[in-house]
Assembly symmetry: C2
Homo-oligomer: 464 residues x 2
């Protein structure tokens, strides 16, 4: 497929010096961290809201797919242009338009990097809670599109809890605003949260008003090691049942520990499982808060409880945790990385069930993640070159999802659905819920030009 000549001309006029149509250039905007790939017909780099309006209208006229792209760090193929068309990369629309601490909000363009925003906010004593592991490289627009969270969500919430309002362009080419500049609002339906997590299938976000939170003055990083995974999972449950909420409560299973130790050395223990815990708060109160979490962490199977001695040790612990995902990629380049979520009290059953599934299908599974939210990154280290594993992988993955759903969990905590999980959506959602989502999609994007083939099972393929 290639672009209609009229559209190609319009893109040239709209995006002087901000248009790629050659094959080599297009290639690098056709993949993301899912290892899926497809060729777009063109890549454009909008810098202003008005350009985005004109872009959507131009694509709509030619019924050409239009895929919004942040920085391509997502793991589900949500930005892969499976039906060709135009990729709109927001990397050049990256201004922080306003930081207003008196009103606790910031207004940003979608291409602002999460880490750049945090760096701008820190000297002012504020932060924006969502902090994906890819924070230095991922964009706010992508965070919003996928409802991406990160470790701090256990205490501070995901983008849906931390966004006040949006400016956007629907698939109809119409521009609109949703939400407020205030921390409260009850003026009509909540379109802000509807767009967050919609993976660019309803509208393109061109501006976001983000709710800011004061930075806690002090933080302590702790690690608790356990004899086995079940003891660690039970400790997570106890920690979340008491009043002091950690600002991170990360879990690593034995395999993840082995891997992290290889990266970080002896700071990572040999154990059945480890919790990496961060507690923040007022300086004077922090010791009492740490004590409260320590009491809850104690119990059967606890091997060691240890506070990071200094900033260097904190750095090392987090670096080891953050290295896990790339490290697994190097072991198993085609690993399947899920981010299932279950109620925290069901974590022992989840972890036990995953062991059985791994054994049954003879596919190694490594688990780590945001245990305080019950959000576990389940890594199926399958090697497609092994015919037995290749044959077993689909059933193995289906068994993982069936387990999660049986435990009152859901398919994704923070990665979204994208390309790779859409066929599983009907297992997680009842038919009426799914049909309502389809009908909502049809209102925002009746021609199905926005990110076709994503999120919804038969989600609006463009009629090009």
């Amino acid at each position: 497929m290639s672009l209609a000549a009229s559209l190609a001309g319009e893109l040239e006029a709209l995006f002087p010096d901000a248009l790629i149509t050659d094959r080599a250039g297009c290639l690098v905007y056709g993949y993301d961290n899912s290892r899926r790939q497809a060729m777009p017909d063109a890549v454009v780099f909008p810098q202003r809201h008005e350009q985005v309006v004109a872009l959507v209208q131009a694509c709509l006229r030619e019924r050409t797919p239009l895929i919004a792209r942040g920085r391509g760090t997502n793991t589900t193929g949500a930005t892969v242009p499976v039906a060709g068309g135009v990729v709109a990369s927001f990397e050049r629309m990256n201004r922080i338009l306003r930081i207003d601490t008196a009103n606790r909000f910031a207004v940003v363009e979608p291409g602002v990097l999460n880490g750049d925003l945090q760096a701008a906010l820190k000297p002012l004593g504020f932060f924006w809670p969502p902090d994906p592991t890819s924070s230095p490289y991922c964009s706010i627009g992508g965070n919003l599109a996928c409802n991406s969270a990160g470790p701090r969500a256990v205490k501070y919430g995901s983008p849906r809890e931390n966004t006040l309002g949006l400016r956007a362009v629907a698939g109809t080419g119409e521009e609109f605003r949703a939400g407020y500049y205030t921390s409260k609002g009850a003026t009509g339906y909540d379109l802000t949260r509807l767009l967050i997590g919609a993976e660019g299938t309803l509208a393109l976000i061109t501006e976001a008003t983000l709710k800011l939170t004061p930075l806690a003055p002090a933080k302590r990083v702790l690690r608790a090691t356990y004899a086995d995974i079940e003891s660690a999972a039970a400790a997570v449950s106890r920690i979340m049942a008491q009043p002091v909420t950690p600002c991170a409560l990360e879990f690593l299973d034995d395999e993840a520990l082995r891997l992290a130790r290889r990266h970080a050395g002896e700071i990572i223990p040999v154990a059945g499982a480890m919790l990496l815990i961060e507690v923040d708060g007022e300086t004077d109160f922090l010791p009492a808060a740490v004590d409260a979490v320590a009491r809850a962490a104690a119990g059967d199977g606890l091997l060691e409880w240890r506070a990071a001695a200094d900033a260097a040790e904190v750095e090392q612990l987090w670096a080891a945790r953050k290295a896990l995902s790339p490290a697994l990629r190097s072991i198993a380049p085609m690993k399947i990385n899920e981010d299932v979520v279950v109620p925290v009290s069901r974590l022992p059953e989840l972890i036990g069930g995953l062991k059985r599934i791994s054994h049954k299908y003879a596919i190694p599974i490594v688990n780590f993640g945001h245990a305080g939210n019950g959000n576990i990154h389940v890594n199926l280290l399958y090697r497609p070159e092994d015919p037995a594993q290749a044959a077993a992988a689909p059933d193995c993955l289906a068994a993982v999802f069936d387990l999660v759903l049986a435990l009152d969990g859901t398919l994704s905590g923070e990665h979204g659905i994208g390309l790779v999980k859409r066929e599983f959506l009907p297992r997680a959602l009842d038919p009426v819920t799914l049909a309502l989502m389809q009908r909502i999609k049809a209102q925002f994007d009746p021609a199905g030009i926005l990110n076709p083939g994503k999120l919804l099972p038969d989600g609006g393929t463009a009629h090009a």
Copy 2:
């Protein structure tokens, strides 16, 4: 209008001992705290989800309006059956189905009173943050329908930030679930938040999974009095710009103080304005937190800063604040009670502008409310029996809304739109946003039977 005979028969079969059709009985389900009134043709009292499904399907067959009702405490006429039809009062569907502290959620039926849930949670060390002033009398279902918040929202958020999932029945008669049992989820569009604040126009909520928050161990109540309103408003801005977020930051203007003093005696000072501030946290840290707020509260115009001496004084202060709305009702039975919201830094401009509007239209205006969210209850004490005031009231109200919108605010912070503000919605929302809301409404309720004449300007009148 009266019910079709077939529908009347169905209701009798569906709701034995739970159906009212006589005039006297219907009358008391035809009004709410808006002082608007209309007659329903029948009132039913569902107790089970399946009854609600059958009820919606029966009403749909006859194209008969169906109005969900909690306890009628809302101030916008959101439950007034302006097109007749059936009122479904959820007062008997009031079981707390599950409290799960390990997973920090509670599952409730919509008729559970907010206060009853709080009472059940307190011994377990948890609470559900939304706490409207009417908490002992209002239902969770009503709180969700209107996104009702209350003082604690300044620190802990509104229902949209504190609800994990819903079970509901759309206007199509189809039942569905939205959301999760987990604190994180990225599996499709966010229908949970879409239903919250939709005032029963999209679906009837039959079950809610609410996110619980640990109770802070200690709390301190403080009052700061100021020489004038502008000084108090500036203090609110300073308090919200520093890191310690109070769990209540209430504002009373001079008129509200006079009124509160009449109710509560000398504990309420004579002053230009007062802030009632609550700070919660760990026992040991509380003095430092109070100091931080005190530093921010200090400044031009501060007359007195005082901590409540004991529980009795706390009780008195809050009783005086909570008595304001009913007290104003006794002075001006037909008062117009708005709950506008502006960014907190714009509060001085709002309060100044309201003074000018009050003077221009010769209608007394009393202001109090949740200043930490910029959410002010603006009470127009107009007397319809005064011809000049009656003539001026509509323009006066329009001027209030124009002021609020010019300050980047919105029409409602927590009361919703209902019957009384729907004509103003096009001032607050751009035409595309409004059209998208209409199209969403049409998907959930194509026949327009759910709460016709509410929220949206021409929001789906039933075609009966």
